[in-house]
Symmetry: C2
Subunit: 530 residues, 2 copies
């Protein structure tokens, strides 16, 4: 437990209380300059897994010990967050997925996005080979970065090409748009047609190439990290310029970005000795990028979409026969996007998976406990409610609400997340679920207790059918509604859904009913999550 020494301003800046931090997005609600100059810890106490701190300005903070102990993770953008590779590492196959599976299965999607982050690329197969489809691929994880080449660009032989890409010539390993700042950090290439002779694709891990250079020629590596290279592109409508090193390190000296494009290097203006040193290092690095063992070669066919990290991987192609009477042709559509949104999409996918795992865990753990005097466990009760909703042909959001209506009873949900708030289980459950589900799921959960009180008033005979335990809790929950309360409830937008959930709730109390397990409902829940 690293309780001493604790950095006071650091600790206070991380106070998790709702006065200091917006619970919706984790954003801080105070300025660092709001803290007094002599901030100190006046008192501290460790108990119940938390460190309680009284500050010299009177503020009180409470930190989970596991947060204090946590290891730091970083943004994964430097070489430390990557799997550096050579061609042989993919002898067993490329990181790839089928487009339909990618769309349908969050795990498949996570695997593809994770490959782009870790290995720098992935291939989607079976993406409909129609124009513009590459934009639909981007929209599954982020946003298009429009450039002077358009929102998307066609890679095929053009009559008046403004870029070597739009010819049939071979292109050596390079990264795109180094003359932009910010450079687009992702590129997609979607193959519509590749019936040409030639036109194979190549990828080189620029981080690996840079690491090889660092190993073999540390001084050349150092020269490339400290020389600002004037990348430039000019045509009729654009005149772009960015001065950046070929190999960019982060503040800790780790490789963070590689830009490599011989076509776009403009005129360096340095003393001759520095030019000699740069060109020797640049030629040496270029030679490394051309080593066959570093170059992964494969062929894109119609429907293949390659997604790759444009500030790490270098991409290349072999020459091909231009379209002719006897020959085929080659047509890719490409566009640019950015790594940050892709990483965000993956993080959200992963936390949804983690949330589903957490919920699944409750069904298996605490859920196995007795359900307030009923003949079923909590898990059985909720699974029965979900199954009843499903059997009734209810829409997915009501199946989810029925399945999850009592999550507020699980101890963890209330203690972990709703500290200091009303712990009535319907509110607690709905608030907890709101992290992942919309109001169409959370509001029937929130109102399912009120729906019982409503039905006891509004529906003759309903109260008489309540189980013994339910009749008991009715009193605790406020008893039947007054007629005025019932009218107000009936006017709520979600009242009908809440009543439906309530009925499945009441029915779901049979011992030994055969119900599907939680895993049965996982895809339905995953599809409903934000």
């Amino acid at each position: 437990m690293p309780l001493t020494p604790l950095s006071p301003y650091w600790l206070r800046d991380n106070c998790p209380c709702t006065r200091c931090r917006d619970p919706r997005n984790g954003q801080k609600l105070f300025q660092i300059t709001d803290l007094p100059d002599d901030l100190a810890i006046t008192d501290q106490d460790e108990s119940a897994g938390h460190l309680a701190v009284l500050w010299s300005d009177g503020h009180r903070s409470r930190y989970p010990l596991e947060w204090l102990d946590a290891e730091g993770a970083d943004d994964g953008r430097s070489e430390d967050g990557k799997r550096l590779w050579a061609a042989a590492d993919f002898a067993a196959g490329l990181p790839e997925a089928d487009w339909d599976a990618y769309l349908a299965d969050p795990a498949e999607r996570a695997a593809v996005l994770g490959s782009v982050l870790r290995s720098g690329f992935a291939v989607l197969r079976g993406v409909p080979a129609v124009e513009g489809q590459v934009l639909a691929v981007v929209r599954t994880f982020g946003y298009v970065r429009e450039t002077n080449y358009g929102e998307l660009f066609d890679v095929r032989v053009e009559a008046d090409p403004n870029n070597l890409a739009f010819t049939s010539a071979a292109i050596a390993p390079h990264s795109d748009n180094p003359y932009r700042d910010p450079v687009p950090t992702l590129q997609l290439l979607h193959c519509l047609d590749n019936s040409a002779v030639g036109g194979d694709s190549g990828l080189v891990d620029g981080f690996r190439a840079a690491a090889v250079l660092r190993e073999e020629a540390p001084e050349a590596f150092a020269v490339l990290t400290r020389t600002l290279v004037p990348f430039a592109f000019r045509d009729r409508t654009a005149e772009l310029r960015a001065d950046r090193p070929l190999i960019e390190l982060d503040a800790l000296g780790r490789i963070r970005e590689v830009r490599f494009n011989n076509r776009s290097i403009g005129t360096l203006r340095l003393p001759a000795a520095e030019l000699d040193a740069f060109y020797a290092a640049y030629r040496r690095f270029a030679a490394v990028t051309l080593r066959p063992e570093l170059r992964l070669e494969f062929r894109l066919g119609p429907g293949d979409c390659l997604i790759f990290d444009n500030v790490r991987l270098l991409h290349a192609r072999t020459a091909f026969e231009p379209a002719g009477p006897g020959g085929g042709s080659r047509h890719l559509q490409g566009c640019y996007a950015d790594l940050d949104s892709l990483a965000s999409t993956l993080a959200v996918l992963n936390r949804r998976t983690a949330a589903l795992d957490t919920i699944a865990g409750y069904f298996e753990g605490e859920g196995a406990a007795e359900y307030l005097g009923e003949a079923v466990t909590m898990a059985e009760h909720m699974l029965q409610a979900g199954a009843l909703a499903e059997a009734a042909g209810a829409p997915a959001h009501l199946v989810a609400a029925a399945l999850l209506h009592d999550v507020g009873h699980f101890e963890g949900t209330g203690l972990e997340l709703m500290a200091g708030r009303d712990n009535r289980h319907s509110d607690t459950g709905a608030d907890w679920l709101a992290r992942w589900f919309g109001p169409e799921v959370t509001e029937p959960v929130r109102l399912h207790v009120a729906a019982k009180r409503y039905l006891c008033t509004a529906e003759p005979g309903y109260r008489a059918r309540l189980s013994e335990a339910s009749e008991y809790t009715l009193g605790v929950q406020g008893g039947p509604m007054t007629p005025e309360e019932a009218a107000a409830f009936a006017a709520l937008p979600g009242a009908g859904d809440a009543v439906a959930v309530r009925r499945w709730d009441e029915e779901a109390k049979y011992a030994d009913a055969a119900t599907p397990g939680f895993e049965h409902f996982r895809p339905l829940l995953a599809a409903l999550m934000h």
Copy 2:
């Protein structure tokens, strides 16, 4: 003349010949590894303003001496390319322009874009206060950077805000989206309504604040340049993370980017002593950003659009009264974009202005020379042709073609740009003009000599009306077309336009005709340029 020592690989990498470099976009057509390991200069000779080089591999290069002598410029993104400011520097007024003038006048547009690059911001006034208009502003110089906040976002009080921006609270100087990498480098805020009490805007030059910190507390400055800060944002649909320093230096140690946003700084995980040092430096920097003398305050009114550099300026606002029965309201629409496209747009504007200045110079300089034995100077001849076209109600592109049809006679155009190509003046002129004008202007210029040869064949009596000098040059140019040549010419898409230009050309040879000067035609030409 820095002829010795010249760095051989540098010199060769900059060979301007058309085998080495694509004349359309300046991109190199060879790999740096294509050059031999022992490349050397075998012979060199300086004459006619050029350095001719014979290389050890037999290649020959020819470099303008003024290119060899040129000073390097950089991309202007570091503090060296900026005008660092304090609030008092704008006592006389903000850098601003009227929207209509901005759209109509390239000089006004260049001034606004130049202010954003140099001072970090500019304000457009009179931008129609309608929703979505901010996207039209972006399209005048670049592309929207879409984020999790949307293509554009509304800055107004929201019921369930996921960001402090969407409340009525005061916001201290900060930059946006530091948790993105790449961070959007430009932000626009377009005011639709600001009838609220409060809600004034503030800007602080983050580069200036960083420079002040460097001056007053160099060690604190150093700490902020080398500490990776985990910026984070998390809501239902996003989980963004970027680890970057608050003050980022380029490879030469110059301030290049500033990120500053207390709300988004996540948990640093460092030894306590480093945390203490970071927080001391961060608090000190934060205090600098709050100094009144650094904060420029102004109020955006409906129709005002603020454009600012989001990796340099910090923006702020004062609190305002939320909309109520008695009060007004505040509604801005914002979006993100990037500096690179803005700088490119400005560079293209500037080179068009430079091109128009060059053309104007020819009209005043060489153009004052005798025109091949006619009674007028070249400039008078071309201005008369342009004026005739204008008087005839010709479309702008034909007025331009008539005005410029003989630019190929100007010595500079051929020598500078078309070395080694056919210097027949119609081709030379058309090729030179193609740098800025489309085929609707260049092709009538290219064909205006052929049109004479065509008319001599196709139109009875035409040849008899030729001036003495024109009759003489007809022979040099190939004489009248054969009937077959004439039929082929008439079938060309641009033949009609070329014939029209030719007729104005023939008429434009009157001494002492009153014609407008070149400046009269500048707006027409500017509007036609790519």
